[in-house]
C-alpha cells in the first residue's frame, strides 16, 4: 500500500546551525506516529517542515506519493493542531471549523451540516456560535481538532496539542483522541515531550535527540529494548550504577549476572525504580543483578514503598513491597529484563 508520508534524508537549518540531520520516516495509512524528545531536539521543527512552515535544506518530503518538499503550506493538504490552538479569535467556533471547507468551495448548507456533525463528534454541541475566548481550554483544543478534522486531511499533524491543559483534562482527551483516530482511521503525527502520552497514543515512536533519530519503534520495543543510555534514561530508567563487563556478561556487586553483548570494560547499568526490588539481606535472591546497600530514605507514594538505597557511593531508587528501616542494610535486585547495560564510552 502507498505510504501516507515519506520523509527522506531531510535536513533543516536555522541560520548557520543544522537542527535536523538526515531524518528518514515512513508513515503508513491510519498509523499514529509520535515524535518524542526533549525540548530543542527538533521534533516540532520536523512537524513544521512537513507542514511547510520551515524550508527544508536537503532531502525530500512526499505525501501519498506526491512530492511536497517545496510546495507552499496551502497546497500540502495536511492539517495541523497547534500547541497554542491558533484559533481565530474574531471568528465563531462554527466559522473556525468551517474555514477550510469554505476555501474548498463547499456550499453554505453543506458546511453547516458538516460543522454540526463535527461539533457532535467532539462533544461541543450547541457551542457553534461562541467565540474562542468564551470556551475553556479543553473546549478550545477540541475546536482546533475539529477545524483540522473538518477537511478530512490525509495527514493530521499534532503539535503538543495537550501541553496547555491540566492533567485530568489531558488524560481524558488522550483517550478520546486515540478512540477518534481509530474510529476515523486518521493518519497522524503527534509531537510531544511527554513519554506517557507518546506511549498511550502511538503505534510507533520516533525518539529524537539533537536533530537525529535516537531510536524508532513500537512503544514496547523502546520501553524494553532501549538502544542507548539516553533512550533508557528518557523512558524512565533514571537509576544508574557503574558495572564491569567481562566475558559477555555483567555481574552485580553481590552476585548475579546478566548476559550482554559488550566488549570487556566499564559499563553503565540503567534501570527503572518500579522494575527493581528491595530484598532483605540473607534471603536467596531470584535471578538478576544483586547489590549490597543501605536504605537511606523510605517514602510511601501509595500502593508500595519507594526506597532510596545508597550503594557503591551512588543513590538509586527502587520500589519495595515492604518497608526497610532507614539506615539498615538491604539488597537491591535488578531483574534481567529490567537491566539495561551500555558501554561507559557511549553517550
Amino acid at each position: 500500500m502507498q505510504s501516507a508520508l515519506t520523509v527522506e534524508g531531510v535536513c533543516v537549518d536555522y541560520g548557520a546551525s543544522r537542527v535536523l540531520r538526515q531524518i528518514n520516516l515512513t508513515v503508513k495509512k491510519s498509523e499514529f506516529v509520535a515524535l518524542l524528545g526533549a525540548s530543542g531536539c527538533g521534533k516540532t521543527t520536523l512537524l513544521r517542515a512537513i507542514a511547510g512552515f520551515v524550508p527544508v535544506a536537503q532531502g525530500r518530503i512526499g505525501v501519498e506519493g506526491r512530492d511536497i518538499t517545496h510546495a507552499p503550506p496551502e497546497a500540502r493538504g495536511n492539517a495541523m493542531v497547534f500547541q497554542s490552538y491558533a484559533l481565530w479569535p474574531h471568528m465563531t467556533v462554527a466559522r473556525n471549523i468551517g474555514y477550510g471547507l469554505k476555501l474548498r468551495g463547499w456550499a453554505k448548507a453543506r458546511i453547516a451540516a458538516r460543522v454540526v456533525e463535527l461539533l457532535a463528534l467532539l462533544r461541543l454541541d450547541g457551542l457553534g456560535d461562541r467565540l474562542p475566548a468564551q470556551l475553556s481550554g479543553g473546549q478550545r483544543q477540541r475546536v482546533a481538532l475539529g477545524r483540522a478534522l473538518a477537511v478530512e486531511p490525509p495527514l493530521l499533524l499534532l503539535d503538543e496539542p495537550m501541553s496547555n491543559l491540566d492533567a485530568r483534562v489531558r488524560e481524558t482527551l488522550r483517550h478520546e483522541l486515540r478512540a477518534l483516530q481509530r474510529q476515523l482511521g486518521i493518519t497522524a503525527i503527534h509531537v510531544t515531550h511527554d513519554r506517557e502520552e507518546a506511549m498511550t497514543l502511538a503505534d510507533r515512536i520516533l525518539l529524537l535527540r539533537d536533530g537525529v533519530i535516537a531510536q524508532e519503534g513500537p512503544p514496547e520495543a523502546l520501553w524494553s529494548r532501549p538502544a542507548s543510555a539516553y533512550v533508557a534514561d528518557f523512558l524512565g530508567a533514571t537509576n544508574e550504577l557503574a558495572v564491569q563487563a567481562g566475558g559477555g556478561a555483567v555481574r552485580g556487586g553481590a552476585g548475579g549476572a546478566v548476559a550482554v553483548a559488550l566488549p570487556d570494560g566499564p559499563a553503565r547499568l540503567l534501570f527503572r525504580p518500579q522494575e527493581a526490588t528491595v530484598l532483605p539481606v540473607g534471603e536467596a535472591p531470584p535471578p538478576g543483578l544483586v547489590f549490597e546497600g543501605v536504605a537511606r530514605q523510605v517514602t510511601y507514594p501509595g500502593g508500595g514503598f519507594r526506597v532510596a538505597i545508597e550503594t557503591s557511593g551512588r543513590q538509586v531508587l527502587a520500589d519495595s513491597a515492604w518497608s526497610p528501616a532507614e539506615g539498615s542494610a538491604v539488597r537491591l535486585l535488578v531483574p534481567p529484563a529490567a537491566a539495561h547495560v551500555f558501554a561507559a564510552t557511549q553517550t
Binding site: G52, E74, N78, F82, A86, W88
Partner: protein, 267 residues
C-alpha cells in the same frame, strides 16, 4: 488626619483639571460673550449672536469645516494606502534594516516644521500644487504617515504567527490568509492609526498655511485669521467646533485600541 492625606491629592486634581478645562472654559465664555472689554473679568453681555453668525449659510465656518473634513478623509485614505502595506512588510516580512526603515518614517518629525513646509511649498509651487486641495492632502498624508506606519506595524506584529500559519495550513493562499485573518485581527490598531491621521489632518495648521493658504481655507486657517483679526468670538467658536471630532474619535480609539497594541508601538 485623613483630611491631611487627601488634601494634597485634591489640590493636585484641581490643578490638573484647571490645566485641562481652564482653556476650554475660557473658549466657552468667549463664544457667548457679545461684549467683553478690558479690565472686566467677565463679559458684560452674553448671547448667541456670534454662534448664529458662524452657522449662517453664508458664514465661512461651515464651509471650512466641510473642506477640513474632506481633506482629512482624503489624507487618511492616501496615507493608509501606503501605511498598511508598509506596516505589514515591516512587521511580518523579515525585512533587513527594519529599525532603519522605521526610523526613516520618523525622520520628517525630527526636523523643525517650518523649513520643511516652506521647502515643500516651494516645490509644490513649481508643480502647480500650491493652493490646491490635492497639495494639502498630500502634505497631510505625508505628515500622518509616521503615526500610521508605527501604529499599524505594531498592530500587525501583535497578530500571532500561528494564527496566520493555521490559515495557510487550512488551504488559504498568502493573500487570502491576509484578508481573512491578518487584516481583521489588526483592524482595531489600523482603525486607531487612521483616526490619528484624520485628527492630525483636521487641526494641522503649519503645512496648510504654507501650501494651502489663501485658496484652501481649512478650519484652523479660518481660526487663525479670525483670531489675528481680533474676532475672539469667531475664533473661540471655530476652536470649539474643532474639538468635537477630536473628542468623538478619542472615545472611539479608547474602545478600539487594546493596550497590548499600544505597548507594541515601535517594537
Amino acid at each position: 488626619m485623613s483630611a491631611w492625606r487627601w488634601l494634597p491629592r485634591i489640590l493636585l486634581l484641581v490643578l490638573f483639571a484647571g490645566f485641562i478645562f481652564g482653556p476650554v472654559a475660557n473658549l466657552l465664555l468667549w463664544s457667548v460673550a457679545e461684549s467683553w472689554y478690558w479690565p472686566n473679568r467677565l463679559p458684560s453681555q452674553y448671547g448667541f449672536r456670534y454662534w448664529e453668525r458662524v452657522f449662517r449659510p453664508e458664514g465661512q465656518a461651515m464651509e471650512s469645516l466641510g473642506l477640513s473634513i474632506w481633506i482629512a478623509a482624503l489624507a487618511t485614505l492616501a496615507c493608509m494606502a501606503v501605511a498598511i502595506p508598509a506596516a505589514w512588510a515591516l512587521a511580518r516580512a523579515r525585512l533587513p534594516m527594519r529599525g532603519l526603515i522605521l526610523l526613516l518614517f520618523l525622520l520628517p518629525q525630527a526636523f523643525p516644521n517650518m523649513p520643511v513646509y516652506i521647502n515643500i511649498a516651494r516645490v509644490f509651487f513649481s508643480l502647480g500644487l500650491n493652493g490646491t486641495v490635492l497639495g494639502v492632502v498630500l502634505v497631510h498624508a505625508a505628515h500622518g504617515l509616521v503615526y500610521a506606519v508605527w501604529i499599524a506595524a505594531a498592530a500587525f506584529a501583535a497578530v500571532e504567527d500561528d494564527a496566520v500559519l493555521a490559515a495557510r495550513n487550512m488551504g488559504a493562499g498568502a493573500l487570502t490568509a491576509f484578508r481573512t485573518v491578518t487584516l481583521p485581527l489588526a483592524a482595531p490598531g489600523i482603525a486607531a492609526s487612521a483616526i490619528f491621521v484624520f485628527l492630525e489632518s483636521l487641526d494641522e495648521f503649519t503645512a496648510s498655511f504654507f501650501v494651502g493658504a489663501p485658496d484652501v481655507r481649512t478650519l484652523p486657517l479660518l481660526l487663525y485669521s479670525a483670531a489675528a483679526g481680533g474676532n475672539m468670538q469667531v475664533a473661540a467658536i471655530t476652536a470649539l467646533i474643532l474639538l468635537v471630532p477630536s473628542i468623538v474619535f478619542m472615545a472611539v480609539v479608547q474602545r478600539f485600541l487594546r493596550a497590548d497594541v499600544l505597548a507594541g508601538v515601535g517594537k
